[in-house]
Amino acid sequence: MVAERPIVEGMYLSGRRSRARCKGLIMTNSPAITLKNVHLTLGEGAGRVHILKGIDLDIEKGTSVGLVGPSGSGKSTLLMVMAGLERADEGSVEVAGSQLGPLSEDQLARFRGRNVGIIFQSFHLVPNMTALENVAVPLELAGDSSAFEKAKAELEAVGLGHRMHHYPAQMSGGEQQRVAVARALVVEPQILIADEPTGNLDESTGAQIVDLMFSAQRDRKTTLVLVTHDPSLAEKCDRMIRMRSGEVEEDHAGSAHLPEEVSA
């Protein structure tokens, strides 16, 4: 097997075949996310806006990517396209080895449940469920019989072993976002997507969340894509993509060190 690009092979090798844990996944050495000529228009009538204008993008497995840009530049929409939450009008979207275009809405939902972890700016925990139940939801939906054991372990991993049976309203913003991170990670997703994950948090709490996400990305070799307005957060990523008016304006490596095999 000859890698097309060294960076991919490097990532793959350093991954110690950890992807094999993902059920039923056909292993390839292709990028985690590949977008080709993606166009998206939203709204109706006079309110129609051409949001994504022919995006071409490859995101390598196990890397972290920061999406930055002014409001309305299309970065959140791009994130949604990658998560299979929004369909492209034109072009192809391949995520974790799957072409998303032909999938039905329900297939997309199951695909997300198993392959994509999402972290929101405003946490979006289910208010009438405890922390433990919130984390277990995606596993329960996927029919995992050990949903609660795994959820418990994940909550302990984010340092919330003592808050398992608390409801979202009984927790601080930082705690809620840690639950959200645990919920995103509990399915061992290949792709972790975060939409301004620290936007609603103070600086030090935000820093804890950032640490959690990046260590997960490093330890589990997850591909992390995050949207942020915070330049210092974007700088932490392996790669930074700047959006403007629905197009990629700038695409360069972040200040964080790439894995040694790659940078070498």
């Binding site: 993902c22 994130l79 072409q99 297939q107 939902a109 695909f111 979006h124 939801v137 939906l141 029919g143």
Partner: protein, 860 residues
């Protein structure tokens, strides 16, 4: 690629279990926001379960007391005459026999001459075979009826004592004799067996009958032979005994009833009334369904983010639907449970509250089948109204978490949910129609309700459309009110729909009730005679007529021979096996019919088909039949009818059909025979007397007094008394109907309150913003008041039109009467609508106006 997206690992059952688990977690937040939902369902279910349980309890009560109500295990009755001795001998082989006679007669005060029509009952020593006749003093019936000092005793209803202003110990003239009132009847076990009462009961010993002179050949006296069998047979055995009796004495011409159907007339009335009230209860449930739909919609509105989260975490739209469907079902079941508990209690409460009014003891109990019906209706209604909004949850986009997308709120749910809604509605309607006694009525009723529902939705849309297109008005308050009527999320559809249905039903019932009473008291009594005189013997006919001419020279008299008889067979088919061509005239085949003969075509009728017989006709018996009854029974000219009159069977051929104007209250008979048919048969005469112009009550009463004194055995029925009797009955029914329909109005009010409460949050926002920019409280109140008043008024107008049309249809098309719109009823409906909308609206708004702007603004 498809390996991880194709097919869930769940089976259907597991998915449902998981959905239930999620649903239960979500319901931990409590039932806030669902109280109206629960109340609406509970109210409708309670109404249906209650009505059906009470009807069942009445039916069971009749069955349990069947022996007492009938007066025996079996009852054989004949009119005009007693049965032959060999037939009595046959009855005596069956068990103990008790013979009683019932007839209508005049009772008079011996001092003042005041008189009253009584339902006279002459009993033998064996009476009553079952049950107890309770007398006020506690003495035995034998003692009370015994002769003392040459005067027979009699016992009477308290009503008779009050009517004639007499007391126990006083004497009353009865026919040609005098009896002494010895006691007051407090409970008569077989009172129901008699049918409609025109007067209070007076009971005497049958030994008195000869003295009274009331029973003459042709007199309208019914003889009842009750049989007590020992041991009492079960219902199946009774049927075979009935068959045996019919077979053994085919010529007896008696009407046989068993305790299994002790009071078929009452049973029919109960069934019909219960069916009507069930439909009214169903209307309440449908009105409440609007509340269900509102509650589900606004609940799902608050759950948009949760739904989107589920979808981001891998849930399919169908799974989301299941989660909320389970929640809705749980909440509906809570409402249904409350409704069933209330409904199950109603027979017990009704039994206690109505014990003095009801003719039978309610067999209050918990009736699972009736409660099951309530559960079914409740569940189906909740589903019918919830599936649509629940279906929309399927398509809540996961991107709702990232940005607020204002999507068109009126988007239709997926086809499968529309289909499921349609199927549920269809099942609901089918059950309602299937369980009805009168399916045509049920279809018309449900059709009208559905029509009103669709129209109300259209009216609400029209109001919003009109409000939007209205040119700008100068008054700020009015402008605000109009804007509130058409803005997205306006109260208009909820208010118009919920209040409109309830109010339409109320208007319709009020107009029907009002028109019925008007017909009874005004239209009819103008044309109707003032008196019916029954049981005028042929030998006293001329003297009687002469007296009337002398006492009321300007009055109009009509006299016809009158017999009673039962139809035995039609076209050679026994009447109990005969199947009418259409519904409507089965009554002709039941019980005795008045029968007469005429040389010429009677007044009040027109010859519709065939020819009238010559005045000197002497051939085979001919009969003229009422056109409507003949059509409905499927009879035509040339068909043969056999009637049993005075124990003789007479077969006559239908010679012609007559169109009868029944409402004239004059002398009308379904069957008029050719005079030769009854040549030589003993019979009495029926006479009517009417004045062209209305006469004072005193004139009528004076005539009554004179006639009763001169002819003590002739029974006089004053039409005004009879009408007031019927009026009272209508009034009682109207109260029951009004009670049931007020449940619909309560459901309307609940939905209205719910809709107003749902709009509460945006009202606070509006009010605070307006106050912040300088609006004063009076101006806000005026604006909101105007909004509610406009909505209330439009709804009232709709209710008047829809209710008016419904009432017109019922009065003119079903009952064949004339319809008049009643302004007071109309104004009343409008007033109710205004009070409800403006009242409820402003009560809510008053609290809103008290909100301090700052805290609200901080939280915006």
């Amino acid at each position: 690629m498809s390996s991880f997206v194709s097919g869930s690992t769940h089976s259907g059952n597991q998915t449902f279990k998981l959905a239930s688990r999620f649903a239960l977690r979500e319901l931990r937040g409590g039932l806030k926001g669902f109280y109206i939902f629960i109340a609406c369902i509970a109210l409708g279910v309670a109404a249906i379960a209650g009505v059906t349980s009470v009807s069942r309890a009445l039916t069971e009560g009749i069955a349990e007391e069947g022996q007492a109500i009938l007066g025996g295990d079996l009852s054989f009755s004949v009119i005009h005459r007693q049965v032959e001795p060999e037939q009595v001998a046959f009855l005596e082989t069956l068990g103990d026999v008790s013979r009683i006679a019932t007839l209508r007669a005049m009772s008079r005060r011996t001092d003042t001459g005041d008189q009253a029509l009584v339902e006279l009952k002459a009993v033998d020593n064996a009476y009553p075979l079952y049950g107890n006749l309770d007398l006020a003093s506690g003495q035995s019936l034998d003692e009370a009826l015994a002769s003392k000092d040459g005067i027979w005793g009699a016992v009477a209803d308290l009503a008779l004592l009050a009517r004639l202003d007499v007391k126990v110990g006083d004497q009353l003239a009865l026919g040609r004799t005098t009896v002494r009132i010895t006691d007051v009847i407090e409970g008569e076990p077989d009172k129901l067996a008699g049918g409609m009462d025109f007067g209070p009961r007076l009971m005497i010993s049958d030994a008195v009958i000869p003295d009274t002179g009331l029973v003459q050949p042709g007199s309208l006296v019914r003889w009842h032979y009750r049989v007590r069998m020992s041991p009492a047979p079960d219902v199946q055995d009774l049927e075979s005994v009935v068959e045996r009796a019919k077979a053994a004495e085919p010529e007896a011409g008696w009407r046989v009833r068993s305790r299994a159907n002790a009071s078929p007339g009452l049973q029919r009335s109960i069934d019909r009334f219960a069916q009507f009230l069930t439909l009214v209860g169903l209307t309440a449930l449908v009105v409440g369904g609007v509340g269900v739909a509102n509650a589900v919609r606004s609940y799902l509105e608050t759950k948009r983010e949760v739904i989107a989260s589920f979808k981001c975490l891998g849930s399919t739209g169908g799974f989301v639907f299941k989660i909320y469907l389970v929640q809705m079902l749980i909440i509906a079941l809570i409402g249904i449970f409350i409704g069933l508990v209330l409904g199950a209690m109603i027979p017990f409460a009704a039994g206690a509250a109505l014990s003095s009014v009801l003719p039978v003891q309610l067999a209050a109990s918990i009736y699972p089948a009736e409660l099951g019906l309530g559960l079914l209706y409740g569940l189906l209604t909740a589903l019918a109204f919830a599936l649509w909004p629940l279906g929309r949850a399927h398509d809540v986009p996961p991107t709702a978490l990232f940005r607020d997308i204002v999507t068109g709120g009126s988007k239709l749910p997926r086809k499968r949910y529309l289909f499921a809604t349609a199927v549920t509605v269809l099942v609901l309607v089918s059950i309602a129609i299937f369980l009805s006694h009168d399916k045509d009525l049920a279809v018309v009723y449900i059709g009208a309700t559905a029509g009103a529902f669709v129209l109300l939705v259209a009216v609400a849309r029209l109001i919003m459309f009109a409000a939007k297109r209205l040119p700008s008005v100068r008054s700020t308050e009015l402008r605000l009110a109009i804007a509130n009527i058409h803005r997205p999320g306006a109260l208009t559809p909820s208010v118009v729909l919920s209040l409109g249905l309830g109010l339409s039903l109320l208007v319709a019932l009020a107009l029907i009730d009002g028109n019925l009473r008007r017909e009874l008291s005004a239209t009819i009594s103008d044309k109707a005679p003032s008196f019916f005189f029954v049981d005028i013997q042929s030998h006293e006919r001329d003297a009687f007529e002469a007296l009337l001419m002398q006492e009321a020279p300007d009055a109009e008299l009509q006299s016809v021979p009158m017999l009673r008889g039962r139809i035995i067979s039609l076209k050679g088919i026994p009447s109990d096996e005969f199947e009418p061509a259409q519904e409507g005239s089965e009554w002709v085949l039941r019980g005795d019919r008045g029968i007469t003969y005429e040389k010429t075509l009677p007044e009040n009728s027109e010859l519709a088909e065939g020819t009238w017989w010559p005045e000197d006709y002497a051939g085979n018996p001919l009969v003229s039949f009422d056109l409507e009854s003949a059509t409905e029974l499927g009879l035509t000219i040339g068909d043969k009818i056999t009637v049993n009159v005075l124990g003789r069977e007479i077969t006559a051929e239908i010679a012609n059909l007559r169109d009868i104007e029944w409402q004239s209250f004059g002398i009308n008979f379904v069957m008029v025979f050719s005079p030769n048919t009854f040549a030589g048969a003993p019979h009495a005469n029926l006479m009517t007397l009417g004045w062209a112009k209305e006469v004072p009550t005193e004139t009528e009463l004076a005539l009554l007094k004179t006639v009763s004194n001169a002819f003590p055995t002739v029974t006089s029925v004053r039409v005004k008394d009879a009408i007031s009797q019927v009026n009272e009955l209508v009034a009682q029914l109207a109260w029951a109907i009004r009670g049931a329909s007020s449940i619909t109005l309560i459901a309307s009010v609940l939905v209205l309150a719910g809709a107003l409460a749902a709009g509460h949050r945006s009202r606070i926002y509006d009010a605070v913003i307006l106050k912040t920019i300088g609006a004063t409280r009076p101006r806000l109140i005026l604006a909101y008041g105007l909004e509610y008043a406009i909505l209330g008024l439009v709804t009232a107008v709709f209710a008047l039109v829809a209710g008016g049309i419904a009432a017109w249809y019922v009065i003119t098309q079903i009952m064949g009467g004339s319809f008049v719109l009643m302004p007071v009823t109309a104004a009343g409906a409008a007033l109710v609508a205004l009070i409800l909308t403006v009242g409820f609206g402003l009560i809510g708004t008053w609290r809103i106006l008290g909100e301090k702007p700052a805290p609200v603004l901080r939280n915006l």
